[in-house]
């Protein structure tokens, strides 16, 4: 893969999302319900993207919303759900049952090994487990190999080179340099293993300010960066905003019901521009976490 040279990487959200083609192998950044690239997810739905092949670790509304909107062909995440808080992912569950999405469930450490193979330019890497699990049977592309040094039989996995890694960061600059706070989850590995990073940031700042905060993903891996305040909502992106529990619950209710309820959710929250969305969901209230422990706890009740 080549680096992404050139000066100004700034793009509109529509231009950024248009870099993802139908059928693309897409890595979604963030994890569980934190720092998910939700504005890009919504924009891909607006643009009518189809047959995406999603890869990654543990995710939630990003994957479920793409499935609910009919944008996904293959799901190769290690987990899709809303944890003990809100439970199983409704669109994912329905699509797995009716076969409309092919579920090739993976394992975090296997995805990591495959990304590292892509980063290093080697044709495979071994993993420590998987042998003997039924996950192995979901992946005809895996193989077993006897180690030439120890004689152990190990599962080996091919490189995973996403066409695009979709990342959201609190801060970026015009050159596409990104600052993230930990946990980075797989964002760094996705950035290095993918053909291109397409990013949204809550704020574009001068390079000197970004360097002060710390560059985690360098601009030479990034093809486009769009400034979208609250671009991870309803997942969290601290220090700006916490997890929007009422919104997530509303999504779950709509996606569980399907039909008209889901159509209404999509019409109100997805098929609108991001400014309209942000006015509607009122994310400023999610900054209350920093006021006091009590205020922070209230966001989760």
């Amino acid at each position: 893969m080549s680096f992404h040279l050139g000066g100004d990487k700034r793009a509109s959200l529509a231009e950024a999302a248009a870099r993802v083609g139908d059928g693309a192998l897409v890595a979604l950044g963030g994890g569980l319900c934190a720092r998910l690239p939700m504005a890009l997810v919504r924009e891909m739905v607006r643009q009518g993207r189809r047959d995406l092949h999603l890869v990654g670790s543990a995710h939630s509304i990003d994957v479920d919303l793409l499935i609910a909107a009919g944008a996904v062909g293959v799901c190769e995440e290690s987990y899709v759900g809303f944890e003990q808080d809100l439970g199983l992912a409704p669109a994912f569950r329905r699509a797995a049952r009716d076969g409309s999405v092919e579920v090739r469930e993976s394992c975090c450490a296997t995805v990591l090994a495959q990304l590292r193979a892509a980063e290093a330019g080697v044709p495979f890497l071994p993993v420590r487990g998987i042998k003997g699990t039924d996950v192995e049977g979901l992946h005809p592309e895996y193989a077993r190999m006897t180690c030439p040094f120890t004689g152990e039989e190990l599962v080996v996995v091919p490189p995973l080179r996403p066409d695009v890694a979709l990342l959201h960061a609190p801060l970026g600059d015009a050159h596409g340099n990104l600052h993230l706070d930990q946990p980075f989850v797989l964002d760094e590995r996705f950035a290095h293993a993918s053909v291109a990073v397409v990013a949204t940031v809550d704020r574009i700042v001068p390079t000197a300010e970004l360097v002060g905060a710390g560059v985690v993903v360098p601009g030479h891996l990034v093809a486009a960066v769009a400034e979208v305040p609250y671009g991870a909502h309803p997942s969290s992106c601290y220090p700006g905003y916490a997890y929007d529990r009422p919104h997530l619950a509303a999504y779950l209710a709509a996606a569980t019901a399907g039909g008209t309820a889901l159509d209404e959710y999509l019409a109100r929250y997805v098929h609108v521009d991001e400014d309209t969305y942000a006015k509607d969901v009122d994310p400023e209230r999610l900054a209350a976490w920093s006021g006091s422990t009590r205020a922070w706890q209230e966001l989760f009740r």
Binding site: Y79, E83, C107, G132, T133, Q182, Y243, W289, T293
Partner: protein, 287 residues
């Protein structure tokens, strides 16, 4: 041990099953261990912080999906990748740093649960009804399919034993490795981790015998062996000897730690209503 408590310990009686359950999980952690829990597991998460604040202050606590080392949570929120869990942490592992450590055997214990658990402690967190046409697609295994092979010991647990669908003879899908799969034992598969050491449920506590099969070692005081037999799908092997005190009443310090770590009661989301109403501490008390 005795379940009868004197009047001076009346406060100790006022504990609920969810609190004692978390304490039992905590007691499976030794003070010299590096310990980890998967996401979507508030009971295990709270248990690790209870252990750290009571009998295991020197354990290396790796906080789930934040990979923070020995953080002191502001509180436990209902989602596992949240700043409240690690705000003032001194250090956060990278994702790959944790998984490398777990794969090379540097992590001593992990907590694992599942929609189904078999007699060898293998778990299904992928699909009820199996793949590719699941009746119920569960969330998925996260990283368990690799690191259950190599981590030193596993504390397997469920808060859903009583319903009868969790402890099964045969898994619909094997996601995480216990002591045996259809392909053979851990030794035959070449796995270096020790596998399941304990299986703790809302009915009792099992360890694993020489065959790597679960063996009932202790019961909660309001449960009898028939209750366990009725709810268990795999062969019930019984050797009741108290399980090293795992299910003994929680101490005041342990109870205080549970309540301080989990003021929102996130652990309670793991239990059916009928279990949340249990106060087993009262059942053996002379009145």
């Amino acid at each position: 041990m005795s379940w009868a408590l004197d009047a001076g310990h009346a406060a100790q009686r006022s504990w609920t099953l969810d609190e004692a359950f978390v304490v039992a999980l905590a007691r499976t952690i030794r003070d010299t261990e590096a310990v980890f829990h998967g996401f979507a597991s508030p009971c295990a998460q709270v248990a690790m912080h209870v252990a750290k604040r009571t009998h295991a202050p020197d354990c290396l606590l790796i906080e789930g999906a934040t990979y923070a080392v020995d953080p002191v949570p502001v509180f436990v929120p209902p989602t596992g990748n949240d700043l409240a869990l690690h705000r003032d942490a001194v250090y956060r592992m990278r994702f790959e740093e944790f998984f490398d450590a777990a794969c090379r055997g540097a992590v001593d214990r992990m907590f694992l649960s599942g929609g189904q658990i078999d007699g060898y402690g293998s778990t299904n967190v992928t699909a009820i009804g199996g793949m590719p046409h699941p009746k119920i697609k569960l969330g998925g295994g996260g990283g368990g399919g690799n690191i259950s092979a190599s981590i030193g010991a596993l504390t397997v647990w469920t808060s859903r034993h009583r319903a009868g669908r969790t402890l099964v003879a045969d898994l619909d899908f094997l996601t995480d490795l216990g002591h045996r799969t259809r392909e053979g034992s851990r030794a035959e598969l070449g796995y270096t981790g020790g596998g399941p050491q304990w299986l703790v449920t809302e009915l009792g506590a099992f360890d694993f015998d020489g065959d790597g099969h679960a063996r009932l070692r202790a019961l909660w005081p309001d449960v009898d062996v028939d209750d366990v037999a009725a709810a268990t799908g795999f062969e019930l092997r019984v050797a009741l000897d108290g399980a090293d005190g795992l299910l003994d009443p929680p101490s005041p310090a342990e109870l205080a730690a549970v309540r301080a770590v989990d003021p929102l009661g996130v652990r309670r989301s793991e239990f059916a209503e009928v279990e949340l109403a249990r106060t087993p501490g009262l059942s053996g008390v002379a009145r």
